[in-house]
Amino acid sequence: MTPWLTILAIVPLIGSVILVLLPKSRPTLAKQLALAISLVTLVLTVIMALQFNGASSEPFQFAESYPWIPAFGISYSVGVDGIGLVLIALAATLVPIVIIAGWRDVDTTSDGSVKGYFALILALESLMIWVFAATDVFMFYVFFEVMLLPVYFMIGRYGGPQRSYAAVKFLLYSLLGGLFMLASMIGLYVVSAQVTGQGTFDYLSLVGLEMDPTTERILFLGFFLAFAIKAPLWPFHTWLPDAASAAKPGTAVLLIGVLDKVGTFGMIRYCLPIFPAASEFYAPVVIGMALIGIFYGAYVALNQNDMKRLFAYSSMSHFGFIALGIFAFTTIAQSGSMVYMVAHGLSTAALFLTAGFLMQRANGSSLIFDFGGVNKAAPVLAGFFMFAALSSLALPGLVSFVGEFMVLLGTFQRYLFVGGVATLGMVITAAYVLRLYQKSMTGPLAPKLVGMPDLGGREVIALMPIVVLTLVLGLFPAPILNVINPAVDRVMTTIAATDPGPTVSSEGSGQ
């Protein structure tokens, strides 16, 4: 059997090493090579995804397992279910797009080390694939933490004026969560040693482990804190706006679009199945945090003057929806969350990249007031911006609508009131997104922008795949749902949650 996942993860890593070894004087070669390697990875991902069997009864496909540190029951184990596969595909799709879009981003800001930026992107891709593929909790943790380093350097070395502060804040916040997760993970190991006599980190052995309820709740908190910071949920979000506004657009896309998904991925992959009782116990708290996040994020976004910060707060609001879906404990809501994760990845990429192109044309300013009337000078750019904005507010027909609708539907089934309140969040989203579009794109052309060029060929090429995917998956979400649904069903079975009966459903969904 071909070790697909290992190959997939190693190809970008090798590419990254080759890039570092290239001479500094050949920046274009480095970029071309980075693009080629990311495209190879994408092709490999597609080939692998085509072999994925949605109806398989195996919990993980393409599974590999080798002993790594037997002294602690740690193995190198990878494998994917539908959720992991979709997120790996998202990462593999966004990386070449980011490379194309960021082709000239670091030419002037990097002390000549252009290759470094692209090497970091490839290293990050490799780590992201491992983190989504890991089926050993220790291995997941290792990549969860190591993944911080490329992003830390991408922000700290290549970012804007506040980069150093933002990078350190990002790293320390993430390490805080990571270290509590480490303590919990060790606790889990100790419990597994006490219960089974042999400590293990194997995911499937840890699922269904009998635990003392108090211990389970404490261990859950360690994992959840790490994921809540990563995602980020209110009130652990303060690093995100700083990181997003200091980072290059491409870095921000990978950070918010893919990396932060590790947080929500972790909740559904680790928190729920390993600590089912604790998850139910804490569900009201999490749902409360998610609701506050939806409104707080949207409200702050409504009052933002900085585009990148606006996107960061808007993402926080969207992460609220995703967490809500996961902790609503219904199949539809959880599937919706997974779709929403993909959708949010795509819409974030569209927003940050178009905004990035726009900012380049205004000397790097990201203040909304510096823009206006862009649709007159650069209609193509304005068009893409409109599309990105609509995708963010979940216009029907786009994939984000599928996700958001399913989350709300699933939440209504169980928590009528929560679902109703959350729906209001969509209204505020529409308000800030449309306000942004109106202020920056319509009206008289801002004097600074006179003579600005429209999007070039490279920029359109970078944005087109996002637009196509958003539309295709929005109109025809079956391919993605087909792989996600079995995985979500398995999670629901593991945590012994059942969807509420049809009576509640027919009352609650109120269609």
């Binding site: 037997p70 002294a71 390490l175």
Partner: protein
């Protein structure tokens, strides 16, 4: 035996039984030390360096090779004074390997334009006419080598001493040369001599505590041998007050060497003032030796009083971790920062010691090895970063260094990440091992404090990376000197071990867990 007994009629004397095979590594080093002194006395100045290096590296390698031949030995020898067991052999091996790297650093002569990092004559007063003369004539000294060999011998003995008196002797054999070595920096000599004096006075003070404790133990148990103390403790349950006082005094002496709070005051001054090569050597090896002795005393002699010392040691561990990490944040000198970092690391190792289980012992051993190699590598880098006044240890001079010299910057970043305990470095596996052992022993709160302290510590390690990579280099930025093969080997070894123990730690984890427990 019979002949000797016949000579002395009144006091029957039996020759002690010594397993020379088991203590050969120690004897090789002591012998080499004596020869090294003779070399200083007899050989002409010009040929000393070559001969000394030959003796030092030869004896270290021979001693290390001997240890590999006696890995299975578990024996108490020399009338119960020396215990050669698994943990002792592991620590002796680690000390010797690190000593080889330390010797390489100390042998480096191409980073300082004046030829050497050690003072031309240790006896010349700083700023005196003598000193100027010696410097002008280009004098280079080789007296550090006998001192170095005796210090290593002391450490090798310290981790296997099974008798408190012998342990005291080993402590002094190890410490006295180190006091001298600390005072021998060629540049900033006053700082160096101040460090040596502080180290000596405080060290002598702590030794006095130790020996007072030994005296009280003798009063209690009528013996200074660790297993005898343990058996007296079991024989007289309930009458432990004298033993308790004695144990506290002995621990003061040992915790001083470990650099645990509140016995840590000497560390920053000594780390800063001593020649960087010596600091690196000392930071890595003394930590292992001192923890080895500490664990042997706690487990073998006072294992029965575990419930008395665990709370006390827990408080010390918590203080050590927090004080070390918090004060490190405010340091602007990189050597002082690493000194506080070494204090914090001592706290993490204490977490493993307090677990008082086989897993805790194995974890602490792994941590010590990992820490030793990373630290010696970090100090090797520091010895290379210089400006016209010598080593540039102020953090402001490190700004932009990673952009100026990416390779050395990346290696130092690796060491910082290793000390911070980021996964895929040896420091992470070390932290993981001791935390796992502590949680299994039920010390949940200790682990939570340790986790918080790790985060605080990560901040100042990361700060160095920020300075090196995220700040523009300017005219104040120091330069990296190209070293000779000596430092290059030490640096490469430190970096390799930091990475390999992070990615493939299984062989070393097996080694430390197969080492078993201290022999009784």
């Amino acid at each position: 035996m019979s002949i000797l007994a016949a000579v002395s009629v009144d006091v029957p004397f039996t020759l002690p039984i010594v397993d020379y095979n088991a203590i050969a590594p120690l004897l090789i080093l002591l012998g080499a030390g004596v020869i090294s002194v003779l070399v200083e006395a007899l050989l002409p100045r010009g040929s000393r360096r070559f001969v000394q290096l030959f003796i030092v590296l030869g004896s270290l390698i021979a001693s290390l090779a001997w240890i590999f031949t006696i890995t299975g030995v578990r024996i108490v020898t020399a009338e119960g004074a020396i215990a050669i067991d698994g943990p002792a052999l592991v620590m002796q091996g680690a000390i010797l390997m690190l000593a080889i790297l330390g010797a390489l650093l100390m042998a480096e002569r191409s980073v300082d334009p004046s030829g050497d990092v050690f003072a031309a004559r240790a006896s010349a007063l700083p700023g005196s006419e003598d000193e100027k003369q010696f410097t002008a004539r280009g004098y280079l000294q080789t007296e550090v080598w006998p001192l170095f060999l005796f210090a290593v011998s002391g450490m090798v003995l310290f981790v296997s001493a099974n008798d408190l008196l012998l342990m005291f002797v080993a402590l002094e054999v190890m410490s006295l040369p180190l006091y001298l070595l600390a005072g021998m920096a060629r540049r900033r000599r006053l700082l160096s001599q101040e460090a040596a004096l502080k180290y000596f006075l405080l060290g002598a003070f702590s030794s006095a505590f130790f020996i007072y404790g030994v005296a009280l133990v003798y009063g209690y148990a009528a013996s200074t041998q660790l297993p005898v103390i343990a058996s007296v403790l079991t024989a007289k349950p309930g009458q432990t007050s004298l033993a308790l006082i004695a144990m506290a005094l002995i621990l003061v002496g040992l915790l001083f060497k470990v650099a645990a709070v509140p016995f840590h005051q000497w560390t920053p001054d000594v780390y800063q003032g001593a020649p960087t090569a010596v600091t690196g050597f000392m930071a890595a090896t003394v930590k292992i030796a001192a923890f080895g002795a500490l664990m042997r005393v706690l487990y073998v002699a006072f294992g029965g009083m575990r419930w008395d010392w665990v709370p006390m040691m827990s408080i010390i561990a918590i203080l050590t971790m927090l004080v070390g990490s918090i004060i490190a944040i405010s340091q602007s000198d990189i050597k002082r920062m690493l000194a506080y970092s070494s204090i914090a690391q001592a706290g993490f190792i204490l977490v493993g010691v307090i677990a008082a289980s086989p897993a805790g012992l194995a974890g602490a051993l792994f941590y010590l090895i990992a820490y030793g190699f990373t630290t010696i590598g970090a100090f090797a880098v520091i010895s290379l970063v210089r400006d016209e006044s010598g080593e540039a240890t102020n953090l402001s001079k490190w700004a932009g260094l990673g952009r100026k010299s990416p390779l050395v910057g990346s290696i130092f970043a690796l060491f910082m990440l290793g000390l911070a305990g980021i996964p895929l470095t040896s420091g992470f596996i070390g932290k993981f091992s001791v935390f796992a052992a502590a949680l299994a022993s039920g010390d949940t709160w200790l682990v939570i404090v340790a986790v918080v302290a790790s985060l605080i510590a990560a901040f100042f390690y990361v700060r160095v990376i920020v300075a090196m990579f995220f700040t523009e280099s300017g005219p104040q930025t120091a330069s990296v000197v190209v070293p000779s093969v000596f430092t290059t080997i030490a640096l490469a070894a430190g970096a390799t071990v930091t990475l390999v123990l992070g990615i493939l730690p299984q062989p070393v984890l097996e080694l430390v867990s197969n080492a078993g427990l201290f022999i009784r």
